[in-house]
């Protein structure tokens, strides 16, 4: 066991820190889940990309640095420690990209990865439908074969599409075999949102930002080269993506360690007279973030040794999403009557970011597969309990 970083990793960290300190905007950008804020975040993404910090773990040919998984964790720690902006490109670079690396043709990789890294193409997810949420296999949106044109015609509706109104492309599942049921007969498509027949409507989230969208497809044609993986084999391809999302790549420990450090700072500023319950809640939140870091270090060691994380990524997702809620509850407890004051209120603390963060944290147990679904996955695939009625 060795819990120290190598000289190379220390140097990598120092380089991250130096660049971030010189480049992170002094004033926080407006929310990336609004039209103006999204534009500001694109500027930031392009700055990251120009200096090759956008996708550190990717090969250099696609704009990365070929960083190891350890270095990626270090980058994430430094990124959130520096208070750098949210990654509006995350659904592409963290969720689609791993799938493209695994399932994409060389042509697809060359066509999409560099533009994704540069934030030229902006990707959103097309999983959920009005009647396919937790029950993702109930997808009804369909793709009809068009042999003459050499492709597929997509019809249906996707929803809860984060930042869909600001993105250029969507990846998602469509039913290619009309006679199929459940997990079979689905295909993974890459859909440019400017395709004729596609329309996108943004709408407000709990926090008021226009961060959600629904995407309507009406006989929208996509050519064969926009199928990712095998036709009718989309479920397996999609599960590779949700595995990334639940686990490490969507929410690295660095994010929560930084949030816990900010919570400790808030305690120092507002904790005077804090009751022992709040003191314990702050401590527990700090410990939970630390525990997530330790769990991840053990997990990454296992990955480096060649074992697959698989369904254990569900443990990870439940942990970080619920710790994030508790962490923000502790913060709002410290703020007391100021907790409800949001951005624009003269008495708001830290620009109302704790309430905003709380609202966002509450999405965690819902997105990327609800925590109820995750607990089913843990019970059935890790503990080996029998499947049953939902």
């Amino acid at each position: 066991m060795d819990l120290t970083w190598s000289d190379t990793e220390d140097t990598f960290r120092a380089n991250c820190r130096t660049w971030l300190e010189a480049n992170v905007p002094a004033k926080p950008l407006p929310s990336g889940d609004t039209a103006d804020g999204f534009a500001a975040h694109l500027g930031w993404e392009r700055r990251l990309h120009a200096d090759r910090w956008a996708v550190v773990s990717w090969p250099e040919e696609y704009g990365g640095r070929g960083a190891s998984l350890w270095e990626w964790l270090i980058f994430e720690e430094e990124y959130y420690r520096a208070g750098a902006p949210q990654r509006v490109t995350q659904n592409g670079i963290f969720l689609l990209a791993p799938t493209l690396f695994d399932f994409g043709t060389p042509e697809q990789q060359a066509r999409f990865l560099p533009r994704m890294a540069a934030a030229d193409d902006l990707w959103c997810q097309g999983w959920s439908e009005p009647n396919a949420g937790s029950d993702l296999a109930n997808v009804r949106s369909k793709a009809m074969r068009d042999d003459e044109a050499g492709g597929w015609r997509l019809t249906g509706q996707k929803t809860w599409t984060t930042r869909g109104a600001f993105c250029t492309h969507m990846f998602g599942l469509f039913r290619t075999d009309p006679a199929s049921d459940r997990h079979k007969g689905l295909t993974y498509f890459l859909v440019p949102l400017d395709t004729p027949g596609v329309s996108v409507r943004g709408f407000g989230r709990l926090d008021g930002d226009q961060g959600f969208a629904e995407v309507f497809l009406d006989d929208a044609f996509v050519p064969d080269d926009l199928v990712l993986g095998e036709v009718d084999g989309g479920w397996g391809v999609a599960m590779a993506t949700t595995g990334s999302e639940r686990g490490l790549t969507l929410r690295s420990p660095g994010r929560f360690m930084a949030a816990a450090a900010r919570l400790v700072d808030l305690y120092q500023r507002y904790g005077n007279g804090a009751n022992p319950t709040l003191r314990e809640a702050v401590t527990q939140a700090w410990m939970d973030a630390e525990a997530y870091q330790l769990y991840t270090l053990a997990d990454v060691t296992a990955i480096v040794d060649g074992s697959a994380v698989g369904a254990r990524s569900s443990l990870n997702k439940v942990w970080w999403s619920e710790l994030d809620v508790r962490l923000h509850e502790a913060a709002l407890g410290l703020l007391g009557p100021r907790g409800e004051l949001i951005d624009g209120s003269p008495g708001a603390v830290d620009g109302g970011s704790w309430m905003k963060g709380y609202e966002f944290a509450l999405a965690g147990p819902i997105y990327a597969g609800t925590n109820e679904i995750q607990r089913n996955v843990i019970a059935e695939r890790v503990l080996g309990l029998p499947r049953g009625a939902r």
Partner: protein
């Protein structure tokens, strides 16, 4: 960076597990509830023969000279088996304490006996009135102020015999007189000795709690796969699944925290006491939570003394409260991360001294 044990560490723990599967099965744990001595001399000798009692004894005294990273998995196995004897006290606490702090002759006498299995050691940590296994241990390590003493059992008087909810824990209250010949360390060294020993005892107990938690969870998982109601295994019900998913999460996130604390102690990290406290807090919480889940998912069958689960539940309750409970340890983490609690606030605990890494532990542990 490599957060994993090496093959030797895993293999040794595996061998201990095999030994205890036979030598410390539930039937033999039950025997220790009812027999006169509360322990098994035969089993202790088997552990000694394998090298377990001498794990931390320096090689010059017949031991293996190993450290926290080498014994943490072994203690986990002793927890999984609900081993009744004071293995944490003897191996994790006493031998390193004697080796590091005791005068040469005193250390030499007892270290070789620990290694060959002829001495079981009980430890009273400061502020605690009771000594677990103190009635049958050969040597008692007793704290008095900032002094630590090594007193043979013949020289202590048993004042009372307590009765634990866990019948395999024989707890006594002792009266004793300190003599220069019994002194292990005093003054500044005594303070360091007491603190280091407390951290090792808390870590060893946290590791045992991991093993107990794993045992209770795996027993329950096996049960809910078999037990049928409404014509199907009860493990197919979501309500049961979610209980057990949470139980697994509690265990799997406590695990690396405990292992990191072992690493911090082994390397003398500046924040080692904080890390041990995190470990004991998570392990205690996981064990008490999973004990309750295990009972609930079994239903009435586990609410009996005929069914074995209670052996592990009761040990979990006892150990969760030993060497500082979760709440006490969280307070020690808070001291490290947040600093002292605000004074003059509306704290209902304001009159209770808070734990501190810079004050004798006994003040706050009672």
């Amino acid at each position: 960076m490599r957060f994993a044990f090496d093959d030797q560490q895993r293999e040794f723990a595996g061998a201990v597990r095999e030994l205890l599967d036979g030598a410390c099965d539930p039937a033999s744990v039950r025997e220790c509830w009812t027999n006169a001595t509360g322990h098994s001399a035969h089993r202790w000798q088997l552990l000694a023969d394998m090298g377990v009692t001498g794990l931390t004894v320096p090689e010059g005294h017949g031991g293996l000279g190993m450290g926290e990273l080498d014994w943490v998995l072994v203690m986990e196995e002793t927890g999984r088996a609900a081993l009744p004897e004071p293995i944490v006290e003897t191996v994790a606490v006493a031998a390193p304490m004697l080796a590091e702090f005791a005068p040469t002759e005193l250390a030499a006498e007892w270290l070789s006996r620990i290694a060959d299995g002829s001495a079981i050691v009980a430890v009273q940590h400061q502020g605690k009135p009771f000594v677990v296994s103190g009635g049958y241990a050969d040597l008692l390590l007793l704290a008095s102020g900032n002094e630590m003493h090594a007193v043979p059992r013949a020289d202590v008087r048993i004042v009372s015999e307590q009765v634990s909810v866990d019948g395999a824990r024989r707890i006594v209250e002792v009266d004793w007189h300190k003599r220069p010949a019994t002194l292990i360390a005093g003054g500044e060294a005594g303070y360091r000795c007491i603190n280091a020993s407390f951290d090792r005892g808390a870590l060893g107990t946290a590791a045992q709690l991991l093993g107990l938690t794993d045992r209770m969870l795996s027993t329950t998982v096996a049960y809910v796969k078999e037990r049928e109601q409404f014509g199907v295994p009860i493990g197919s019900f979501q309500a049961v699944k979610h209980h057990l998913a949470d139980a697994l999460m509690a265990l799997e996130f406590a695990r690396p925290v405990v292992y990191r604390a072992a690493y911090s102690l082994a390397h003398g990290a500046p924040h080692r006491s904080r890390d041990v406290s995190m470990a004991k807090a998570y392990a205690s919480d996981a064990a008490t939570h999973v004990a309750a889940v295990a009972l609930q998912c079994h239903g009435a069958i586990a609410y009996t003394v005929e069914y074995d689960l209670h052996l592990f539940m009761k040990r979990a309750w006892a150990l969760a409260a030993s060497w500082g409970d979760a709440s006490w340890h969280r307070q020690r983490v808070a001291m490290s991360v947040l600093g002292p609690p605000p004074s003059g606030g509306n704290s209902s605990r304001a009159s209770t001294p808070a734990p501190s890494e810079a004050a004798p532990l006994g003040e706050t542990l009672a």
